[in-house]
Amino acid sequence: MSGVTTAPAGLRPEDRDSPAGQLRGLVRRIDAVAVMPYLYLVGLSIALYLTQSALLTGPSALEVRATAVLPLALIAFGQTLAIYTRGIDLAVGGIVSTTTAIVASHSGAAGFSLAVLVAAVLALAAFGGLVNGLVVSLTRLQPFIVTLATWSIWGGIAFVILPVEGGATPSGLVNGLLGSILGVPKSVIGVVILLAIWFWLRNTRFIVDLKAIGSDEARARLNGVPLVRRKTQVYVLSAVLSALAGIWVAAQTASGAPTAGDQFILNSVAAVVIGGASIYGGTGSAASSIIGSIVLLMIPDLVFALKLTSFWSVFFQGFLLIVTVMISSIVITFRESRAG
């Protein structure tokens, strides 16, 4: 199942000339799994437009959406990288919690001390990611178990720093991150920057190596992919992105919470999977995962627009996750059986 390439099945000669045959060939060449998140996005947008268009086109609709999406998009970006290598990073939740706890318990920081605070938080997260990455790559322990353990450790540290929800985020951070520049909300800029980074990154050696590791680790090693370095980079990046998300959450809520990050663990994995990546590694795209994050967070709006109680959104998010993986499992099985 891992490392399925999307090589289109060759056309039969007699099909080539007829328009119907050409159409069939085109349909066959489209990767149904990769298209899915975009279909969801269009479908949900249409549904939202028809039911409560203000949620989609209202004056601050874009800003509200981007503000909610940015932290999940940051974490899902890192999660995409981990899932590329056939791994998973559950520690993201603990790192977000610890970050909000540290930031919210230093409300006096401003100017230089604020810069030091942000740098310290990012360095701490990088250290956490380094530990995850080294343990995962140097031992034969499963990323699931390793990051399950470090999630607990980071969650515990958050509780020690800030036992109850509260504290106050430095006002410099709140003002610096929220609001707009030249009329463009900063959260929107954040999502765009993230997408730009991905479009630069996806053609680099780094991503090619990650795909190779996820598709076939033994073969990647034989081809000279530096396994330890690459995997460590993945978990460090994922942790630093989570810390950025934590800083954003602390600014957005102006406070911290020892469990602030827990919701992001499962949601980030869900965003990646709804984005069309296979949990068995080697596939995916951070851009699609960001679309997956947007789709996941549009569901509560649609539930609101349909005048259902907000609790339905949890149900539909889980339902969408199951439906998506079922479709992609069936598509992959179908494709494999065709390939023979």
């Binding site: 399950l148 609790f311 998010q317 499992s329």
Partner: protein, 327 residues
């Protein structure tokens, strides 16, 4: 005479092999003993019969969930839908019975049926549709959470019928009924894993799915069962937890996602499948419970508990892995 010698040598080697294969399980029991000794050294009442009984009662919930989770992990899967199966069973029981103990039998039968349905959905998704277990059970967990939130309008804490409450802690032949149930689960789980065809098939699938298939195992049908066991175990533990606790609330299942997975891993099972035993998971449940009791003793809060859970989990899998890579 030579034959007898050879036979005794093979038995000795066999025994040694069994011992060597079970080093992670023995190690987890060693951790149990060490934690227990530490507790007794700190407070004399720690080792009293009464306190041991309380510890065992507390451990029983992770223990009961742990059988299904062990079976899932043995096949290379995992069940992350435990928290809301657990919470759902408790809340449904309390709402449907509505304080009337005489309604319990029908209500429990219904809850059992629903739990089997949840397990079948997970199992069929994993075995027949080919959805990765992490994603499948994560999805059903979310769907269950949503349905329950809708059903309870998001903020209920309800109470068990009094009959359940008293029965759980009532003594039969010197032990609370709750403990008898866990003992029954232990015997059942050990027998199934060690002495039945189903047990051998689960190990076979986890070790090498293709080989199991070629050996004539109906892999798909067998792969459904661990998820059904897990859902039934989770639901049963939820109902009993409510009886023990005297209350059902929406976050009651949250700790059990980490706890059940950690108990299985601390107990020496490999998350890749094919390796481990319920006897190890029992030790894992005891380790987590003892850690909790120890930290209370040292008056350290939730934060230190989570840190020590993580550290012990990491250490246990690390040591088990050292042994595996040497073999």
């Amino acid at each position: 005479m030579f034959a007898a010698q050879a036979r005794s040598r093979t038995t000795a080697l066999g025994a040694l092999n069994v011992l060597r294969r079970n080093v992670p399980i023995l190690l987890s029991y060693l951790i149990v003993v060490l934690l227990f000794v530490a507790g007794t050294a700190k407070a004399s009442g720690f080792g009293s019969g009464n306190h041991i009984r309380i510890l065992a009662l507390q451990a029983s919930f992770i223990g009961m969930i742990g059988l299904g989770q062990t079976m899932c992990v043995l096949t290379g899967g995992i069940d992350l839908s435990v928290p809301w199966t657990f919470t759902g069973a408790a809340i449904l029981t309390s709402i449907l019975a509505n304080g009337d103990s005489s309604k319990l039998p029908q209500v429990l039968l219904l809850v059992l049926g629903l739990a089997i349905a949840v397990g079948l959905v997970n199992g069929i998704g994993v075995a027949y549709v080919g959805v990765p277990p992490i994603i499948m059970t994560l999805g059903t967990n979310g769907a269950l959470q949503g349905l329950l939130l809708v059903y309870t309008k998001g903020g209920i804490s309800s109470f068990p019928p009094p009959g359940l409450n008293t029965w759980v802690l009532e003594n039969t032949v010197g032990l609370p009924n709750l403990l008898w149930i866990w003992i029954a689960v232990m015997i059942f789980g050990s027998v199934v894993l060690s002495f039945t065809t189903l047990g051998r098939r689960l190990y076979g699938i986890g070790t090498n799915r293709g080989a199991a298939y070629l050996a004539g195992v109906n892999v798909r049908r067998t792969l459904v069962l661990p998820y059904v066991f897990s859902a039934v175990g989770g639901a049963g533990a939820g109902v009993l937890f409510m009886g023990f606790n005297g209350q059902a609330f929406l976050t009651m299942g949250d700790p059990f996602l980490f706890a059940s997975a950690a108990a299985v891993a601390v107990g020496g099972a490999s998350i890749l499948g094919g390796n481990g035993h319920y006897i190890g998971t029992v030790a894992g449940a005891l380790v987590l419970t003892l850690l909790n009791a120890l930290l209370v003793l040292f008056s350290l809060g939730t934060g230190y508990l989570l840190i020590s859970y993580g550290a012990v989990l990491l250490m246990a899998v690390f040591v088990a892995n050292l042994r595996l890579s040497r073999a």
